[in-house]
Point group: C2
């Protein structure tokens, strides 16, 4: 049997400790599958003493992960520290410079510096891999980069953040409000104490930027992602969505359009029968649409020690077996620039909820505003009457360019009797 592949692990949090445990427990099957053993030779974390439920006895300990990346007796360095720069970036750069492969679970780092790090890795002749950075329980990066490599993709989209999907699932099941469900999710450990990265869509946008690059052969461009989170989604909207036959999901969507590649993260209404509408709780899902393959759907856990360690192990096993791939599917230097698509040019259908005073003439004014903006209504939901009181009026709009929608919203907001800013959710045809 060939010599063991030696692995150094930077970061022993949930994912790092899970990876050490996986590589120990599965050493027999891993050796059989790669034709050689995989051995953890070095680890680095902040506190040496802490019990992490895994035996570190045989491994060299480094207080400084950057020194480990430079000096450890290792073929591969796993960067499981996290964070968009700082130590995580230093570890990655140092490992590449030292001629070691890097396996990363760090979506933030790669969303910001992915192209440049991939160029460095390819110039140094080492692999930079990141299956664990996007939906750990789904080998989606491998599927896009290798399995579906014979296809031109037209659209890739998915449920990329388990925290948001959990919150929206529970809101739908219980009818409770966002803040209330978020507080519960925090108590249960499904949301961080500072949840903004998740609920404001930033985490999903990091992942989407990586998917886009692999799917379309474009430079990683996190700055080009249009991002909206789920804070403003109300129990009322979820109820109306149900009535209209929709579910509300936070989706990341990358789509080839005439104007370039659209990248956006925002709450969407999708048909209850859509392929991923029934993906609930902390599960993630990704759909790829290709010219030959058609629709290909993937679903699994998005986070947690097990699924993420499984993804890290998949990358390590590929390296051990000698399977090489360009980080983003094609040589990093050949990745194309991605001109930002303005959301003003986005064409789609929309859900709008207005809060209006129930009095004569308001609805006629709204209809006129839509007409003047050249936006056409598909359906309207208004239940009962409550003269003089504020009631919700819900409409769905036919496909229109977002600039026209914004014009309509501007006109509607000015109507006397419309008492809150309109709530808008894009309807996505999946």
């Amino acid at each position: 049997m060939t010599e063991a592949l030696k692995v150094a692990i930077a970061g022993l949090g949930t994912v790092g400790a899970g990876t050490v445990r996986l590589l120990a427990e599965q050493s027999d099957i891993i050796a059989a599958r790669c034709g050689r053993p995989v051995r953890v030779t070095a680890v680095s974390a902040r506190s040496k003493g802490r019990d992490r439920g895994c035996d570190l006895g045989s491994m060299a300990w480094f207080d400084d992960p950057v020194a480990m990346a430079r000096e450890a007796d290792a073929d591969v360095v796993c960067e499981l520290i996290g964070g968009a720069d700082g130590t995580a970036k230093d570890v990655t750069v140092a490992a590449i410079a030292a001629g070691r492969h890097v396996v990363s679970a760090n979506k933030a780092l790669l969303a910001h510096y992915g192209t440049e790090l991939a160029e460095k890795a390819e110039a140094a002749g080492v692999q930079l891999r990141f299956e664990a950075a996007v939906a750990g329980g789904i080998p989606i990066i491998k599927a896009l980069r290798e399995g579906l490599a014979g296809n031109r993709l037209s659209r890739v989209y998915g449920i990329l953040n388990g925290t948001c999907n959990y919150i929206l699932s529970i809101m739908r099941e219980t009818g409770r409000d966002f803040a209330d469900v978020l507080a519960d999710a925090q108590r249960l450990g499904y949301a961080e104490s500072d949840p903004s990265f998740d609920i404001d869509g930033v985490d999903a946008a990091h992942k989407l930027a990586l998917l886009t690059s692999v799917a379309f052969g474009t430079k990683v461009d996190f700055g080009a992602v249009h991002i909206e989170g789920i804070r403003h989604v109300s129990a009322l909207d979820i109820k109306f969505a149900q009535e209209l036959g929709y579910r509300i999901k936070l989706l990341g969507i990358a789509r080839r359009t005439d104007a370039g590649i659209e990248q956006r993260v925002h709450p969407c209404m999708i048909r209850a029968s859509a392929p991923i509408a029934s993906v609930e709780d902390v599960y993630n899902a990704v759909v790829a649409e290709g010219d030959f393959v058609g629709r290909s759907v993937y679903e699994g856990r998005g986070a947690g020690a097990g699924p993420t360690a499984s993804a890290v192990a998949g990358d390590i096993i590929d390296i051990a077996a000698g399977r090489q791939a360009f980080t983003f599917g094609v040589p990093a230097k050949d990745l194309q620039p991605l001109p930002k698509c303005s959301m003003e040019n986005h064409v789609g259908a929309y859900y709008i909820r207005l809060m209006v005073v129930d009095k004569q003439g308001v609805f006629a004014d709204i209809a006129a505003a839509l007409r003047d903006a050249k936006v056409s209504m598909e359906a309207v939901l208004q239940r009962g009457r409550a003269p003089g009181e504020v009631v919700p009026v819900v409409m769905t709009l036919h496909e229109t360019v977002e600039a026209s929608l914004n014009d309509a919203l501007h006109r509607i907001t000015a109507i006397d009797g419309v008492v809150e800013p309109p709530m808008v959710i894009r309807i996505e045809a999946l």
Copy 2:
């Protein structure tokens, strides 16, 4: 740029012609993704003259695919002829003997001779790959063999035959009978004129045998698959399934049990909320359950020129990029024998439909038969009364070993007033 990878294609039916077309249309992206061009240098089919919608001008023509496998100027031979032996096997063996890689879409051949062919390929230092043989629209072989390789799998199951799934979907939507829907499916080209391979479960069993081998590291053992088809599923059963909150699907299931690996293909009742219950029409789906990854779900088209060509291309691209893998995930010589699990030892829940004469005492006799066989009822559905007439009685049974169920059925069949052999469908907890 490195030299082109040269591909010979045996068989120019739907899949072969689709593959030629894909490799021509996508030559730019394929070259970018593998770092070298891929070129079809030779083709072989029965009739040279036929128009297949693809340009064969630059390719050497062989009337004899075996001669092509032996003599063509090619690094890879794609076996897209089909059939469990005969020419397809000769082509595969000849290509391996000539030191060429083989990409196969042939589930029947591999289900029967997979282990032996993989041994030959590995001894010859060439790749034998078969992504296209199982659910073309889903890169599931790659996912099991590489992406999830850090996991010990406990169960792999799925909807593996599009024809059956289409028929069952339409039966459910329309309430029509099996024979009727089959005839329509034949007219529409979704079922063959001789549909027995599909509807009797053989095609799904071929695919399951391959999935089992990759998932569990066992020798391919088609003979060990318990196979039942869908001919006996009636509109009545589909209606009762709906009422009980289930869907009926033909599933292929491979499961690790204390007695070994269970491999079975049969109609199943699954909860309407199960991850693949809403996979309809010609779509396939596969679920893998691993110790670290948890549940990982894959869905896509099972057949057709596009999805199958996409899968063939994925394998060719891997070979072009120099990515190697053992055919069934571990060296073929290390694949473990798979002792056949008798269905008598299967433990599960069951749906039973009896046709009984509505008269005093029959139900008491049935209840006594179940009690005597030590089988316990979960629920019973009997609607209205029709004294003296034959009415359906539907029961669901708690988990029991299948030997006890068979004992109960034997006793029930002997009851005066039970007028047809009982209809039994296994309930699968997914």
